[in-house]
């Protein structure tokens, strides 16, 4: 992306003072907790979701330990139920949904648009407080005994029979949900109204397109979740039936309303990841993205279709067979825009000058794992096959390939890519590559055996299983331990590099994009002068990159 503004100069330097950035403009705790700077709010989110990631990860670790043996010998069934509920609730609402939008999105969206901040900075801070208040409710509910309903809160179990603090947990999700809505609203208005002069819709980076679609889903789907959780909590508190068949209600209505949110929520989780990959691939292939408009509109298409497929979670829930057929066909249609993206990324690599830096490793990992996750999704969208594998480990493996293999890979890739911008420092490349490989290997060892387990008939959510499943379960648990190491490494070296990493400079990847035209870390208001945009994104030259490489290695 070429801007007419000259390269941004460093802020004025007095002889022994470091340049004024968003990080050192003030140092008090108050200046962080009351900040309205989108970059600082992004860091607040980063710390919070990392905390929740390790809470959810701890629950998963205990589950994998229990599943090492066919007998239930580590925890009771009740505890096991609570563990998978904690894992699901925390990972979905307190890590995956906020992850890329609130950390990378908050940090980058205004900079990618050439703006000084999001449209509503105070609302942005309020979102974080809502998120933390919701998180406090969830942690309270975990500490005081947990919830054993599973993250889906199916009625009438959750509203009538379940033990534990279901209402506190639901309240936590409800409150955090309003944080999500506020973030989505903020991003939509920012994209519409805060673009720099010349930044037309077809010059937007693809990450912005995907954030925009994600925000629309957040704004339109989350209120329905808030409503359905309210109804469930009221039924539990006052015993008035709306979902409980014993009181004249219909549990299927709960599932309809719940999945009307929760299926689009899957796209809330994966679309930002696709956006990150669309940034990484052109940069590290030194090539313009192939089919910009196709990739951009594919995001929108996924967002729209995502609202129409919720019924595929209810194929065996007494939903009418005709509804099932229609939901099946619509679910297949989501594969089309997803495949458009994968093909366009692959076509971008073709004849590119590929540079295997850590972010690129994550991006390539994303493409492969997302493809596996997406194609197995088609198995599940087929009515007949779904009856066989419904509620088995096949489903678990499928959505972990999307969520962990897709979203977490993209998050880590994006985090490494923009880390020099966020911190002003480079991470240690060798160690980062090693941990990327560790995560890839650990991930596949953990979740590939689960496809086989599920196909052979091992149901999800049980701690005791038939002895013949043990080998595959041991493989899976072993993979999980490798995965854990892979996740702890970046935590350690990124923290280390915050202080001791090599100084990065404004644009270590020589990437295009407005965020790379300003200093690293950026000044408080992002740019010294408002940039003026005259060209589209991804103005890379693969041939020049090749020649330069040959010249350097001649």
């Amino acid at each position: 992306m070429i801007t007419q503004a000259p390269p941004q100069p460093e802020p004025p330097l007095t002889s022994h003072q470091s340049p004024l950035t968003y990080l050192n403009v003030r140092h008090t705790i108050r200046s962080w907790l009351l900040t309205t700077d989108h970059k600082r709010i992004a860091l607040l989110y980063m710390v919070s979701i990392t905390l929740f990631f390790f809470i959810g990860g701890a629950a998963a670790t205990l589950m994998r330990l229990e599943l090492l043996t066919p007998q239930g010998d580590l925890v009771t069934s009740e505890t096991y139920n609570k563990l998978f509920t904690i894992h699901g609730v925390v990972m979905v609402w307190f890590f995956l949904i906020p992850s890329i939008p609130t950390v990378l999105g908050n940090f980058l969206l205004p900079m990618m648009l050439g703006a000084r901040d999001v449209a509503f900075p105070k609302l942005n801070l309020a979102s974080w407080y809502l998120f933390m208040a919701g998180g406090a409710f969830a942690v309270f509910s975990i500490i005081t005994g947990g919830v054993d309903t599973g993250w889906t809160f199916y009625t009438p179990y959750s509203s009538t029979y379940a033990n534990g603090h279901v209402i506190a947990m639901a309240a936590g999700i409800f409150i955090a949900g309003f944080g999500s809505i506020a973030t989505g609203l903020n991003f939509i208005v920012t994209t519409h109204k805060m673009r720099a002069p010349g930044m037309t819709w077809s010059r937007l980076p693809l990450f912005v397109w995907s954030l925009y679609t994600t925000s629309i889903i957040l704004v339109l789907a989350t209120p329905v979740l808030a409503m359905v959780l309210t109804l469930m909590a009221l039924e539990r508190a006052f015993g008035v039936g709306i979902f409980n068949p014993a009181l004249g209600g219909d549990p299927l209505l709960f599932q309809h309303l719940f999945w009307f949110y929760s299926h689009p929520a899957v796209y809330i989780m994966i679309l930002p990841g696709m956006g990150v990959v669309s940034e990484l691939i052109p940069c590290f292939a030194r090539k313009k993205i192939f089919g910009y408009h196709f990739v951009a509109y594919a995001s929108v298409a996924i967002g729209v279709l995502g609202f129409l497929v919720w019924g595929h979670h209810m194929f065996v829930s007494s939903q009418s067979i005709y509804a099932g057929m229609i939901f099946s066909v619509l679910s297949f249609m989501v594969a089309i825009p997803s495949a458009i993206k994968v093909f366009n990324w692959t076509a971008t690599l073709y004849k590119g000058s590929i540079w295997f830096a850590t972010p690129m490793l994550y991006a390539l990992g994303f493409i492969g794992l997302f493809t596996i996750g997406g194609l197995t999704g088609l198995f599940l969208a087929s009515l007949a096959v779904d009856v066989h594998v419904h509620d088995t480990y096949f489903v678990i493996a499928h959505f972990h390939y999307i969520m962990v293999g897709g979203m977490v890979m993209a998050y880590l890739g994006g985090l490494h890519f923009w880390w020099p911008k966020i911190s002003g420092r480079m991470y240690p490349e060798g160690l980062a590559k090693f941990s990327a490989f560790t995560i890839f290997a650990g991930f596949n060892l953990t979740f590939f055996p689960q496809f086989i387990l599920g196909y052979l008939g091992m149901p999800r959510r049980y701690r005791v299983y038939a002895p013949e499943f043990q080998v595959l379960n041991v493989m899976s648990s072993a993979g999980a331990s490798i995965l854990a190491v892979g996740y702890l490494l970046p935590l350690a070296y990124l923290l280390w590099s915050w202080k001791y990493g090599k100084v990065a400079g404004p644009n270590p990847w020589r990437a295009t994009g407005l965020e790379w035209t300003t200093a690293s870390p950026p000044p408080k208001d992002n740019f010294q002068t408002t940039p003026i945009v005259t060209e589209g994104p991804y103005d890379y030259d693969a041939q020049a990159a090749e020649e330069e490489w040959e010249h350097a290695h001649a």
Binding site: P6, K193, P223, V224, L231, V240, T529
Partner: protein
């Protein structure tokens, strides 16, 4: 119920050729003067530098209105952003109420007789009066928005007082209706009692009735509080002089609350009443 396209275009796009304006407004922010001049210096010799930044910044400083927040370039941009944000918020509200309307509709289709019978126990005199009160308050609000646009602060304050009072009247009438219903054992729970062929689903009707009108009344209460605060500010301060956007957006919210009731009233009180 989505934002009209008129407000969705980008204000900043129209100023592509307006580099000078953007730069001038930007300089009104907290930029250190030194660095700004350095930019200007480095720019000399760049072939496509759009315009030279003005050396005299006082003009930009004086034209920026006091309510303009630092992230915006001009008042128009701020207004467009706020308006779009409000419409999006209302869209989330539609979806929020939508979940309840869907539940109500589904069960009315399942149990048409029980719902019709239960509907006949609702107190239409209260509901009808309240509809009139709310529609009139919305009209008054529309006049208040217009007065704000014309900068007539006293009239704005007076009309907002009237709107808030009508909102209060609505809440009082609703409260009386609730009290009467409790005395007639129409509150779902242990004491619920109704003469109907299918009391269990009649109870479900009343559960949905209390929930939907209750959440609506919560919205009315929030509205009344906000309108009262706005009326005070319009009366005492100059907060809305040459800055009518907040009143405009409050008006949107109040019309939304009104329109939800316009849907609730026929669904709850009128459906199959004489069937």
């Amino acid at each position: 119920m989505l934002a009209p396209t008129a407000t969705l275009g980008s204000a900043r796009d129209s100023r592509v050729g307006d580099g000078a304006l953007a730069v001038a407004n930007l300089s009104a922010g907290a930029k250190p003067l030194g660095s700004f001049q350095r930019v200007a210096e480095t720019r000399t010799g760049v072939a496509c530098a759009p315009t030279d930044p003005p050396n005299d910044m006082s003009s930009a400083t004086t034209t920026a209105p006091s309510h303009l927040e630092h992230q915006f370039d001009d008042a128009q941009q701020q207004r467009d952003a706020a308006t779009t944000g409000m419409w999006l918020f209302l869209a989330t509200e539609v979806l929020f109420f939508g979940g309840m309307f869907l539940g109500y509709t589904a069960y009315r289709i399942y149990y048409p007789r029980a719902f019709a019978e239960a509907s006949r126990h609702t107190l239409i005199a209260f509901g009808g009066t309240n509809t009139a009160v709310l529609v009139i308050s919305s009209t008054v609000m529309a006049f208040a928005v217009r007065a704000a646009r014309e900068n007539r602060q006293r009239i704005v304050a007076t009309l907002l007082w009237i709107t808030a009072s009508l909102g209060m009247v609505f809440l009082v009438i609703k409260g009386c209706e609730y009290a009467k219903e409790i005395s007639e054992h129409l509150l779902p729970g242990r004491s619920f009692h109704i003469e109907a062929s299918d009391p269990r689903h009649a109870e479900m009707f009343f559960y949905l009735y209390w929930l939907m009108t209750g959440i609506h009344a919560l919205h009315v209460t929030i509205g009344v509080v906000l309108i009262t605060i706005f009326a005070f500010r319009a009366w005492i301060t100059d907060a809305f002089r040459n800055h009518d956007t907040p009143v405009d957006l409050l008006g949107l919210y109040w019309h939304f609350v009104d329109i939800v009731w316009v849907f609730l009233f026929p669904l709850i009180y009128l459906v199959n009443r004489h069937g």
